[in-house]
């Protein structure tokens, strides 16, 4: 995984609440056996009409936001299915940071494993960033993971929480499996004991 670098740029405003993973990447694109190339179909049914033409007023089709790396979203972003195709599509499109008041649990975990930082902030702070995001190229949102801050254009900075292990993995581009393999002895020991205490498993 690539190391997570600081991000600064426009934020795409998506104030709709409950943006679900079916919206992020509809089911017909889950038939791939690859992880790559899904950005072309990100938000497919909101972004393109029945003939595959861009829908002009969809935020990521507007000139200011076509290269956005940040999304500022309504409550409960990423609810629904466990499909990791959702963060794959977002990351492939270029999204590195998503800000919301809350994220669905599985989507939140999946994001970190793909170099995307989901930031949870209180409603008032999301509102400030949403307003900034709506100003398009006239605004700039900056994210500093090391210091756990996100700043609006006027320099107002908000502190955000992130799990220390997840932060470490993101900053260093670490692969979870490699890290767990270093603890294989603990797994072996657990398994030995467990085989005796729960032989039916």
């Amino acid at each position: 995984m690539e190391k997570f670098e600081n991000v600064s740029g426009v934020g795409a405003p998506m104030p709709l609440i409950n943006i679900d993973t079916d919206m992020i990447i509809p089911k017909q694109f889950l038939k791939t056996i690859k992880r790559s190339g899904l950005g072309a179909n990100l938000f497919d049914e909101m972004r393109f009409d029945d003939n595959g033409n861009e829908i002009e007023d969809f935020v990521l089709n507007k000139p200011a936001y076509r290269k956005a790396e940040i999304i500022v979203a309504g409550d409960n972003f990423g609810c629904g299915s466990s499909r990791e195709h959702a963060p794959w599509a977002l990351r492939d499109f270029g999204i590195k940071v998503i800000v919301s008041t809350s994220f669905a649990d599985i989507f939140y975990n999946n994001s970190f494993k793909n170099g995307i930082l989901p930031i949870v902030l209180p409603k008032e702070q999301v509102d400030v960033l949403m307003e900034d995001a709506e100003r398009g190229e006239n605004a700039r949102i900056s994210v500093d993971l090391e210091n756990q801050t996100i700043s609006a254009t006027d320099g107002t900075a908000f502190k955000f929480e992130v799990d220390s292990f997840k932060k470490h993995c993101l900053l260093n581009g670490l692969d979870d499996i490699g890290l767990t393999m270093q603890k294989v002895q603990s797994i072996d020991t657990f398994e030995e004991k467990y085989k005796k205490s729960a032989p039916w498993v």
Partner: protein, 468 residues
Amino acid sequence: MSAPKTLYDKIWDAHVAHEADDGTCLLYIDRHLVHEVTSPQAFEGLRIAGRGVRAPEKTIAVPDHNVPTTTDRVNGIDNEESRIQVEALDKNAKDFGIHYYPVSDVRQGIVHIVGPEQGWTLPGMTVVCGDSHTATHGAFGALAHGIGTSEVEHVLATQTLIQKKSKNMKVEITGSLRPGVTAKDITMTVIGETGTAGGTGYVIEYCGQAIRELSMEGRMTVCNMAIEGGARAGLIAPDQTTFDYVKGRPHAPKGADWDAAMANWAGLYTDENAHFDKVITIAGEDIAPSVTWGTSPEDVLPIDAVVPNPSDFKGGKVDAVARSLAYMGLTPGQKLSDIDIDTVFIGSCTNGRIEDLRAAAAVLKGKKIKDGMRAMVVPGSGLVRAQAEEEGLAQIFIDAGFEWRMAGCSMCLAMNPDQLAPEERCAATSNRNFEGRQGRGGRTHLLSPAMAAAAAVTGKLTDIREFN
């Protein structure tokens, strides 16, 4: 004496293989269920890294999302991408030596129906699958939740999952349900109460008399939709109903192992005075036959209610409701029981079990579906299908005008050819009414199997209490 524990605490504690200073744990996984859509990239990852599957004997695969449900599927899958995905699972199961139920096997079906049916899912276990509806298995008092593909690869390689503990929530349904009210109505009513994000960060334990009175099938329906409330998992403490269901299943413990397991399972309950971070109590008799009107599972109301007005809501929900009503083609104030239906879908991991088919067939016996109605029953597994044929249910469906299908996920997520056309309105026993879920522009109303059957006959959403 140690502090009182919840059922979740107990299962968690029994599976921690490693705990770091910051509380990050490696949780040992007892059963890993695998299907064709979320696993190819995980197996590819193993191959690239030269890794194997650590516990193939605990790993069970079955294709379900993509498979056609027409009987001619024995001739192969027409859609090339779907075929490639199913073939990839065939090959991965063989190469890595994991248990496998191919499309041709009568035991094939939706992964969350096959697991319990074959006795893979047992009380006290940790169960994961690259599918959010893994929550279903919580009905057995197993800690079960959905994971992403990176985590699928992690479990395949290490038989563990990196986790931090969630909080405990108790959802108690007191008293008994009224006639016509089912497990589906319980679980949808709870989501209506908590909202789709209300469970985020929690594991829910469902308890109370109305839950105890449910069959295993009903309990699976309740836990299945815990994820729609945002919860990591839903749990129900095992009891005699659970043990009776499990006993004698192909992969359930036998002989001395059964006795040892029963001794262990007897401790799977929440201790008196254990701490819950959140408690919700609903009276069973207050739950009505319910139906969704919008595009989120939280958009649920009793069937005798009317379509709400966006102005009834607050904050971001105002715009979301306006958008939902436009998408659904509904007007505020319209009676839910006046909504005309084009299609009925009975099936899915929520309501594709034998009890669900019995409930729907009981409504349909001797009746015909409305002219022009498209209606299909997709049993949750080949064994459910066979049992329904044996019990004469299949004939009731066929005589009523339903299509009688082979097992799979089918129109629940429309990855196979079973899809809605734009603006086609469907009464579905599945779990998600998201925009485009059952096909682009398709309109979904979630409800119980009996209510779905009644809608097929009348051609509109129907109060099952007034149907005869």
